[in-house]
């Protein structure tokens, strides 16, 4: 804290009527239009919005890192009295890393895979001509210690792939903070992380911000995160500011309908009553399932084993939705893949309405496959870009012997059912992420499955889209009496849709029970830990 801070309480950063133009042919003219907000000294400002809201564009303009073809066309971005938009690239470069630091969303890809972590941190000092080689390493070590990396002496010599997602994000933070910038821009820094890791990183950012009296511009789509960290909030939509105010007020008394919708889209503690299952005959029975992945050892190297599933048992009744919740590496996806028999379990028993689903192979397996279908996580990667969506949906039935014409007609009906009627002859790239996920649902339904396994089916979507897809699933469930196995890392999503919840950790089932019980009275410490880590849980948000 220096004297100037107290004498000039002006904001660190002020955007004044900032307008950023998108290249010709984009879906709108301006990424950001007439946007003005301040980041005061020592505060955390959350810029909230869904994808396409332009929330990251202003940050990129401040950093001088706008993508090619995107340029500011109006307004000013004042940082310490100078307009960042009028800087030359060289002047801008001198500010980056030194006075403004930035961290990004994807810790997996944001670090150079070929450089040691220590060298990547040392580069920040080098870029601004600070210290000598040895001092840079010492500083890197000190920074790694400060951001709480376990065994910093080892981590400094590690390559990024040797660290977990949370550790990499800590490295990113260490790098951004190396030269003690006045302003830190954090662009969705916790979106790609597990809920417990997210909680730790949020705490770290809050803690460092307070300790260094730094200003933070925190970009996020998640109002839960906002409730955890924000002093002030700026809500954006379609490139414009919808609402701007202090966190307390915006969260509790949102004035704008859109803000309210975003807050409501976060399932808080509203837990649906478990519906009584229609019958009590088990549809899916899983007993003592085990799956070990072995990396094949060679002539001179030992084999490695990972126990993805250990003695997993549960059963699912017809018409029921079970949520399988766990963090990455918990084995939840392997379980899903075993149930649809994309993987073959090593031992145990797996049966579907009495059929032994575990030991089917070859032709027999192919004939039964239609009974269990899957909805995948990534709506962008799971559709063949060169196949029209109608055909993509019809391919399954056709492979199962349905006449082409009939299958295509059915595909039309299914598209209608998921709210995309009349689009069968379009290609996947013509659809948004949420729409593609609807197509994925229609594709799964096309085979009249008894059970649908949805693996992180809404994780890649914006909250409001997420809510729509969950609603659609709920509706289809009622209409078609579907049984659903819903795999997710997000407890809030599970709470919204599931009758029962299974919590997994390290390949084992930690706890299972009715959704209500698991949420309100968790028996196991790990479940409590997961629940506590949900951002915004302790904060009262506006009532739905």
């Amino acid at each position: 804290m220096t004297a100037t801070d107290t004498t000039s309480p002006g904001p660190v950063l002020s955007l004044r009527n900032l307008t950023i133009a998108l290249p010709a042919g984009a879906d709108r003219d301006h990424a950001v239009e007439d946007v003005s907000y301040d980041v005061a000294r020592g505060e955390i400002l959350c810029v909230v919005g869904e994808s396409g809201s332009g929330k990251s564009m202003a940050a990129n303009a401040i950093m001088g890192l706008l993508p090619k073809g995107v340029r500011p066309v109006g307004g000013r971005a004042l940082f310490d009295g100078q307009d960042l938009l009028s800087l030359t690239e060289k002047q801008h470069r001198q500010l980056r890393g030194l006075r403004i630091g930035m961290i990004f969303q994807e810790p997996m890809t944001a670090l150079n895979p070929l450089m040691r972590v220590g060298a990547q941190i040392a580069e920040v000092f080098e870029a601004h001509g600070r210290l000598n080689a040895r001092e840079r390493q010492e500083q890197a070590l000190a920074l790694l210690t400060e951001v709480g990396i376990p065994q910093p002496e080892k981590a400094i010599r590690a390559y990024p792939f040797q660290l977990s997602g949370g550790q990499r994000q800590r490295v990113m933070i260490a790098m951004a903070l190396a030269l003690e910038p006045e302003l830190l821009i954090a662009d969705e820094p916790t979106t790609a992380l597990d809920v417990t890791t997210q909680a730790q990183i949020l705490e770290l950012i809050r803690d460092l911000q307070a300790r260094r009296d730094m200003s933070v511009m925190f970009i996020t789509h998640d109002f839960g995160v906002v409730a955890e960290v924000a002093n002030r909030v700026c809500v954006m939509r379609h490139g414009r500011i919808v609402e701007l105010g202090d966190a307390e007020t915006v969260l509790k008394h949102p004035r704008h309908a859109y803000t309210r919708a975003l807050i409501e889209a976060i399932p808080s503690d509203v837990i649906p009553e478990a519906r009584g299952a229609e019958t009590d005959t088990a549809l899916l029975e899983v007993t003592g399932l085990n799956k070990v992945f072995r990396s094949r050892g060679g002539l001179f190297k030992p084999a490695r084993e990972v126990h993805a599933l250990r003695d997993v048992s549960f059963s699912l009744v017809k018409g029921e939705t079970i949520g399988i919740v766990g963090e990455s590496g918990s084995g939840k996806s392997t379980l899903g893949r075993c149930i649809v028999r994309l993987e073959r379990p090593d031992s145990g028993h797996l049966s579907l309405s009495g059929t032994d689903f575990m030991h089917l192979t070859g032709e027999a397996l192919r004939r039964e496959r239609h009974r269990v279908q899957m909805i995948f996580q990534d709506p962008y990667a799971s559709l063949n870009p060169r196949t029209r969506v109608g055909m993509a949906i019809a391919q399954g039935p056709i492979a199962n012997g349905v006449a082409r014409g009939k299958a295509l007609a059915r595909a039309d009906e299914l598209l209608e059912l998921v709210g995309l009627g009349g689009t069968a002859d379009r290609f996947p790239h013509e659809f948004s992420g949420g729409q593609r996920q609807r197509i994925g649902i229609a594709r799964a339904l096309a085979l009249n499955p008894e059970l649908i396994v949805a693996d992180e089916a809404v994780s890649a979507l914006d909250v409001s889209i997420q809510a729509q897809i969950l609603e659609l699933l709920e509706e289809l469930k009622q209409k078609l009496s579907l049984s659903l196995l819903f795999i997710t890392h997000d407890l809030r999503v599970a709470a919204q849709i599931c009758d029962r919840i299974i919590v997994m950790q390290h390949g084992r089932i930690v706890e299972q029970g009715p959704a209500r019980d698991v949420f309100l009275a968790p028996r196991e410490a790990y479940t409590r830990e997961l629940l506590d880590a949900i951002p915004g849980r302790e904060h009262e948000l506006a009532d739905a």
């Binding site: 470069r93 890393g97 990004f104 670090l111 150079n112 070929l114 580069e123 920040v124 870029a127 792939f161």
Partner: protein, 325 residues
């Protein structure tokens, strides 16, 4: 430690592969029509059965196939590649006499194409959408599309016949009897045209690949991170983009390196370079089976050696591979 183990395991596999190649080559040649004895006899103008029988007996060609195979394989195990009927010399001596010339030519071309290709590709990537970048790519396309022998002939016409700067053929000036430094310079002068000709094609490929690979790498998140640190464009280009972009180049370089023995036939023929390529061509025309088999063996061995080297280089360049292997 890790490398020693890796090399050991690779060498063990290599021995097996080489053994299979030797057997395969042996049968391949057996399947070819024509018998070396008949050809030798034919060229000698003698056609009587007795002479043929004597020839076959002398070279062991009258033995059953499995005996011939056993003799051949056990011979190779002791580095005896047999006798060349045509050249009246041991195959090994013939190959060893020609190998240095070829390796000098192909090795020079390899280094030249790799170095120039990467530099040109990096420049083209840094100057994308600028005239200078487009010019580099246009040149690369020309070299890529032009047949090698035509470039070679035109180079001879221009630099040897017209300008008289460089010798048109051979490896040394015949009869000059240079020694020491003078000889090195003489060979160097002879090397320029064939090596450049041979390098152009691969240089064009490296240029195109480096550029494409760098443009792709420059879109990666870590490049944005590097820019956010305030690093200068040059450092970002070298340390972050180029290093990552080089990984696919290593694969291609490994492929090119594997062709060092057999890949220069055309160039050696046009420039009368006394290398393995020409030896192979002659052996092929004259059905000099033992010699052909010997050359096949050496090319295969070199391919395997360079595969191992490529794998090692990959491990040095990309730390992620170590644990995955």
């Amino acid at each position: 430690m890790l490398y020693a183990r890796l090399i050991l395991s690779r060498l063990a596999k290599a021995v097996v592969v080489l053994f299979l190649i030797v057997i395969f080559n042996f049968f391949l040649i057996q399947m070819a029509p024509g018998d070396p004895a008949a050809i030798l006899a034919g060229e000698a103008g003698a056609t009587d059965e007795e002479f043929l029988r004597q020839l076959r007996e002398r070279f062991g060609l009258d033995q059953p196939l499995h005996v011939q195979l056993w003799r051949y394989v056990s011979g190779i195990a002791m580095l005896d590649f047999g006798w060349s009927y045509r050249q009246q010399m041991p195959v090994l001596d013939l190959i060893l006499a020609r190998l240095p010339a070829t390796l000098l030519l192909t090795g020079t071309a390899f280094v030249l194409s790799l170095a120039l290709g990467i530099v040109a590709g990096s420049l083209a990537a840094a100057r994308v959408k600028k005239p200078s970048g487009s010019l580099i790519m246009a040149l690369a396309l020309v070299f890529y599309a032009t047949p090698l022998f035509w470039v070679a002939l035109m180079a001879v016409v221009l630099f040897s016949v017209y300008l008289d700067w460089l010798p048109a053929y051979g490896m040394v000036t015949v009869g000059a009897g240079h020694t020491g430094l003078a000889m090195v310079l003489d060979v160097g002068k002879h090397l320029i045209l064939p090596a450049t000709t041979l390098a152009l094609f691969f240089m064009a490929i490296y240029t195109r690949m480096t550029r494409a690979s760098m443009l792709e790498a420059s879109q990666q998140d870590y490049v944005k991170t590097a820019r956010a640190k305030g690093l200068s464009p040059g450092v970002i280009q070298r340390r972050h983009i180029l290093r990552n972009a080089l990984l696919p180049i290593i694969t291609l370089a490994g492929l090119q390196a594997g062709q060092m023995v057999g890949g220069a036939i055309l160039t050696e023929t046009v420039f009368a370079w006394p290398g393995i390529g020409r030896l192979m061509y002659e052996a092929l025309m004259q059905r000099d089976y033992n010699l052909l088999l010997g050359i096949f063996f050496f090319s295969a061995a070199l391919v395997i050696v360079f595969n191992i080297i490529t794998d090692l280089v990959y491990r040095l360049a990309d730390p992620r591979i170590k644990e995955g292997s």
